[in-house]
Subunit: 295 residues, 2 copies
């Protein structure tokens, strides 16, 4: 991702690190030095983020992303984000995405410079990679053990499993492991045999006409794109459900997709080296919806 | 930590991101912007680090830290660090630590700017906080579930449990949880009841005259300070052992310490709210050794 635009949100004029950000931000050069080595985002992966898809200049599902940013901040004991300031920053960033085509806006809220007075917050915008092929042909996935039991997140909130933190080294390592195995992406499974999510996407299965996603029980990020697709399916009169999904359901499903803000709906075409059927027509209808302006 | 000195290691003059760093580095202002928003360390916690203690200008156990840096790099599929370049950078940084007193040098190797040609690497130096009181009075710890079974790391290397990555949000959250419970620090335990390590320190127990630390089986960082202390104890003719340690051993031990590069030996004075005996004399002898020049 080559960022073509970036801005830093100005912190409140206060020594109180728990204070909300005041309104206001300043544009910066996305390729120039902007962060000091004292930044806790860079020293400790200590912060949170969101990635927002942009279609023809329209930022998708902004309210849902901002809501999740605030949720992650609460889980990580970060100051409550000033969502109006962030919303305005997204509007400015969207204007720097392609007017015709797809873009991506990233929001980052770091704990700031160590012992500093306030968090650091910035927003970047870029042209999105071309995902046309992957939306049609799909992704080959491998299942990888996430190491946790399905009931772990609820009893150990310090593991931050429901927060979208900057500590994504494991997510990136899982994708490298998938590629090493000749696949494109991974799906994490719990150590006790339940399907969770992909490193950077949610999972949706079609099982006998029902659309099912693993329940976001604290260990799974609640995907904004999955949420939006479920609303769309409900309007069409289709049945949707949040469930505890055993790993066996993955191979038995009629069809399955990875859903994320920028790649949108990528049909799963192989699971652990075994090809599975892709529903091209239904996938195309999902992406047609997901590429329409959504709020 | 207020960094008083920083330098960036120059990458090799090559488009090959897998190439080693060439010799050479340049000093930067540690409080000025130095890193771009495209840095994967800051976007993804995608990189590794080491913290080296410095006593009266002497950097401690440099070889062991560099060896662990190379080990972490291999686990994370990062280019093999040019250890001679890093060693020279540590020498320069040590000269900027207090000549009389304690300092800390931090090494960071990031995957670099997204789609960039090479990793980013930098070294910082600072005066260490005054740890005199904590070395004498000790730390109150709480045990926190790390979520994994003891055998998880060996079967799931993509969880990077033996690498010292920048993705430390969980480690920081565990320390916040400990403070919320009225303690000073945490000790992680496996979901199946074995003692692991502290978020930023190793654990050593004295059990009936033997000194025992949890075996670094892939899920625990092998502590450089613990390793150094064990060498010292062996020279003194004391018995040391790496073992699988059940949680019950923590309360039953004659004494216990958290060991780390900068705080050194901190005796454990309470476990989950129950006071335990501190061996002040032995602790003082540990820290006398740990404060002596070590290579």
């Amino acid at each position: 991702m080559t960022w073509r635009f970036a801005l830093v949100l100005e912190p409140a004029a206060s020594d109180d690190a728990r204070e909300d950000f005041a309104a206001g931000f300043r544009e910066i050069d996305p390729s120039a030095p902007a962060l000091s080595v004292g930044e806790l985002s860079t020293q400790r992966g200590d912060g949170i983020f969101e990635s927002i898809g942009v279609v023809n200049g329209h930022a998708q599902e902004v309210a849902a992303h901002l809501e999740r940013l605030a949720h992650s901040a609460a889980l990580c004991d970060l100051p409550t984000p000033n969502l109006e300031q962030w919303r305005q920053a997204v509007t400015v960033a969207a204007a720097h995405c392609p007017a015709d085509g797809e873009g991506v806006i990233k929001l980052i809220l770091s704990r700031g410079v160590e012992h500093g007075p306030a968090p650091t917050a910035w927003v970047t915008a870029a042209q999105a990679p071309d995902n046309t092929v992957v939306r049609e042909r799909g992704v080959r996935i491998v299942t990888l053990d996430r190491g946790y039991g399905i009931d772990t997140p609820a009893r150990a909130p310090w593991l931050l499993l429901g927060a979208k933190t900057l500590s994504y080294a494991v997510n990136m390592a899982a994708i490298r492991e998938a590629k090493r195995r000749g696949a494109d992406d991974a799906v994490f499974v719990s150590s006790d045999g339940f399907v969770l999510e992909a490193p950077t996407a949610s999972l949706v299965l079609r099982i006998g006409g029902r659309f099912v996603t693993p329940a976001p029980n604290g260990g799974i990020l609640h995907g904004t794109t999955q949420l939006s697709l479920f609303e769309h399916l409900a309007v069409q009169g289709r049945e949707t459900a949040y469930e505890t999904v055993p790993v066996s359901a993955l191979a038995e499903a009629d069809a399955a997709w990875l859903l994320s803000s920028v790649r949108l709906a990528a049909p799963i075409s192989a699971i652990d080296g075994v090809a599975v059927a892709v529903d091209r027509e239904l996938t195309a209808s999902f992406n047609e919806y997901l590429l329409s302006p959504r709020t």
